[in-house]
Symmetry: C2
Subunit: 168 residues, 2 copies
């Protein structure tokens, strides 16, 4: 495959995958673009390469920064801002995990904790099933969350080394 075609495919694939996982397609595409860029890119580079508006490029670049997946780079003697993505895949995975945990798992844990206190007749089948489901889910989320904490502290080699050895 030619390089230009491969780039295009990579950006498209990453964008599609992103939207399947609830991430704005363009944000994922901008991320892909930065991942394969050997040098930091400007907003204009992103606009040109992905054919999107300035507003859109700006917004998605800022979102990537909020996800801690990209950073601003200032070049001496240049008014423009440039953007560079973290390139280490393990580090990217950790940052995404950390962010989703903070944005989605922690609030879920809080809701489930509240729901465990539901009032109702424990003899009632509906109440009984509700309680069991919420408790089962709460325990599972807590375990996942704890596992995630270890993952966030671990380095890649140790993590996969231990994991793949443990589960051989």
């Amino acid at each position: 495959m030619e390089f230009e075609k491969a780039k295009e495919t990579f950006i498209q694939t990453w964008g599609t995958l992103g939207s399947e996982w609830g991430i704005n397609r363009t944000m994922a595409q901008v991320h892909a673009l930065l991942l394969i860029a050997p040098e930091p890119l400007s907003t204009d580079d992103v606009m040109e390469q992905l054919r999107v508006s300035r507003g859109n490029a700006n917004m998605n670049l800022r979102d990537l920064i909020n996800w801690n997946l990209a950073e601003r780079v200032i070049k001496a003697g240049d008014r423009k801002e440039y953007f560079r993505a973290e390139k280490d895949i393990w580090e990217i995975a950790r940052r995404i995990a950390k962010e989703r945990k903070r944005r989605e798992i922690e609030p879920l844990k809080d809701v489930l904790k509240e729901l465990r206190k539901v009032k109702g007749d424990k003899k009632d089948a509906g109440v009984k099933q509700f309680t069991e489901t919420v408790e089962g889910l709460g325990d599972f989320v807590d375990k996942m969350d704890k596992s995630m904490d270890y993952l966030l502290k671990a380095d890649e080699h140790w993590f996969f080394g231990t994991l793949l050895k443990a589960f051989k």
Copy 2:
């Protein structure tokens, strides 16, 4: 919190979480409804409790079956079909993991394998960064995929037991 309010909150929360993870909100809500239902529900039950159309209810119930998260139940002497969700959270997690792996990770692996064969001057910075990114990503996805295979074979107690012990 009152039972009815708790039910409502649970369904809403599960629906929101679903859409954050790229799953149709209504499908997640139907799933939530089935998860807390002590008995299998009919299409009409779903329509009534979630206030959605017959077409919508039917479609999302079928999707849940395609995800292997719900099954049809036939009651003797009743023409209607009923639906019951798998209630064991560990089993649900495994089925979702299995399905997303099949739908998303396997195709991604294929694309990355193709992209590794990109033609281009290895001295070119763009080609070099592209190759490194794609290779790093490919290796990472392979490891994740392998870990997932173990997870899919494991049972919950063993999985969390080993994992939480290994990473203490």
